[in-house]
């Protein structure tokens, strides 16, 4: 143990801030990119995806951490997968029951939260070695970093691709929707630009804060 005087509150919050800033899963570790690209066409789908991921990531890290001392090392991957898929099914059924339009808009990408490497990565790297509360906060922080980056991308793509933000017209009436931006290429290009911007302002050696985290 080091003698660094850290208050209990601060040390608990550290995993959260790390997830948003220097350990940001999307920008620094290139994890969870599939859905980062797929759902960012609209701000609303992005927000729902972000909330779903916050829920699944925090709870699965919590549960995996609770089970970490009784899980044999060889079957831990299967156990983690089981925990994550049960939580994803809960989210999927909830969306189908109460918000069917959103469920169809997100399509298969809710199911694909299961294979979002972000969650499995946090379970493997953090939850297997730390207590449940810290793990849940770590999962929450990573998911928050992920959600903020996605929101930034979707805030580029929805106005340019559809002329709207959250369904409200923001561009002039004469705005021609750019299909290139709402389609797959725009997703890749917008993501590349966000990565470029963030890494120009905060070079990789000392990433402190993201523009979205202000």
């Amino acid at each position: 143990m080091t003698a660094v005087p850290v208050g209990g509150q601060e040390s608990l919050l550290k995993p959260v801030t790390d997830g948003i800033t220097c350990d940001n899963p999307v920008l620094c570790q290139a994890l969870g990119i599939c859905s980062a690209l797929a759902v960012t066409g609209f701000v609303s789908t992005t927000a729902v995806m972000g909330i779903a991921l916050l829920f699944v990531a925090s709870l699965s890290c919590f549960v995996v951490s609770l089970l970490r001392n009784v899980t044999p090392h060889r079957v831990r991957l299967i156990v983690e997968m089981l925990v994550i898929s049960v939580l994803v099914i809960v989210v999927h059924l909830f969306l189908q029951a109460y918000w069917y339009d959103m469920s169809s808009a997100l399509g298969p990408y809710v199911a694909l939260i299961i294979t979002n490497c972000l969650i499995l990565g946090r379970c493997e790297a953090f939850a297997l070695r730390n207590g449940p509360v810290r793990s849940a906060l770590d999962g929450f922080g990573s998911a928050m970093g992920y959600a903020l980056v996605l929101l930034a991308i979707s805030l580029i793509r929805e106005p340019l691709g559809h002329g709207t933000v959250l369904g409200v017209q923001v561009m002039p009436e004469a705005w021609l929707p750019m299909h290139l931006v709402s389609g797959p290429p725009g997703a890749f290009l917008a993501m590349g630009l966000v990565v470029w911007l963030v890494r120009t302002i905060w070079p990789e050696e000392e990433p402190t804060e993201h523009p979205e985290a202000r």
Binding site: P108, L112, L189, M191, G192, P203
Partner: protein, 215 residues
């Protein structure tokens, strides 16, 4: 338009490679795509492993979904033979799919290790990564979409096409990245940034196939 099952399967196969490329139009499998496209040999191995596992698990999950999970009423509605168990278990589909993929990958790993050490040595490191490859779960989730009405042959063609589409994209990217080694890329763009942007340009190029075949 009346067409034989074989023609339909061929169309789905081509569409899955070109117009509906699983990576460039559905963004599935991006994590391994970015992490492993640094050199051609790795990309080739990963692409082949993904193709093999995708085809096999698509067929396996097709059998499980329409043999067990679907309810008899839904099966009749879609004009399929009645399942073995008449209970609507489709809400468990994600869980069962990922378990069958994980189990299959484990099995393949053991079989290859036992019978072909050379192949195991070359392919082995990719196999654990494949379980969490979204492309493979994605194919299984997409094929049971009731709107698509895939039969068994179409499912196999879709799995094979998606796997080969992934192989094509990751190998193209490995070639481009080899050239990129000597390019003067801005420091902040190196690595993730430039890879994503090049993928965007590739996706744009693949949009040129739009309308040739459709899923």
């Amino acid at each position: 338009m009346p067409e034989s099952a074989l023609t339909a399967a061929a169309v789905i196969f081509l569409a899955a490679i070109l117009t509906n490329n699983i990576l460039l139009s559905k963004f599935l499998g991006m994590c391994s795509f970015i992490a492993l496209s640094r050199n051609m040999k790795t990309s080739w191995g990963m692409g082949l492993a993904v193709t093999f596992v995708t085809v096999c698990t698509a067929m396996l999950n097709y059998a499980i979904y329409y043999g067990v999970l679907i309810s008899a009423a839904d099966a009749a509605l879609q004009g399929r033979p009645a399942p073995w168990i008449d209970a609507d278990l489709t809400h468990l589909a994600f869980l069962v799919f990922i378990m069958s993929i994980a189990g299959f990958v484990q099995l393949v790993e053991m079989v290859i290790e036992r019978f072909s050490p050379v192949l195991y040595y070359n392919l082995g490191i990719y196999l654990p990564l494949i379980t969490v490859n979204c492309a493979i779960l994605g194919v299984s989730v997409l094929m049971v979409d009731p709107d698509r009405k895939f039969d068994f042959l179409a499912t196999a063609a879709y799995g094979l096409g998606s796997g080969l589409g992934y192989l094509l994209a990751i190998c193209l990217m490995a070639g481009l990245r080899a050239k990129l080694e000597h390019a003067d890329v801005p420091k902040a763009l190196r690595g993730l940034g430039i890879t994503v942007i090049i993928t965007g340009v590739m996706a744009m190029a693949f949009m040129g196939f739009t309308g040739v075949v459709d899923l």
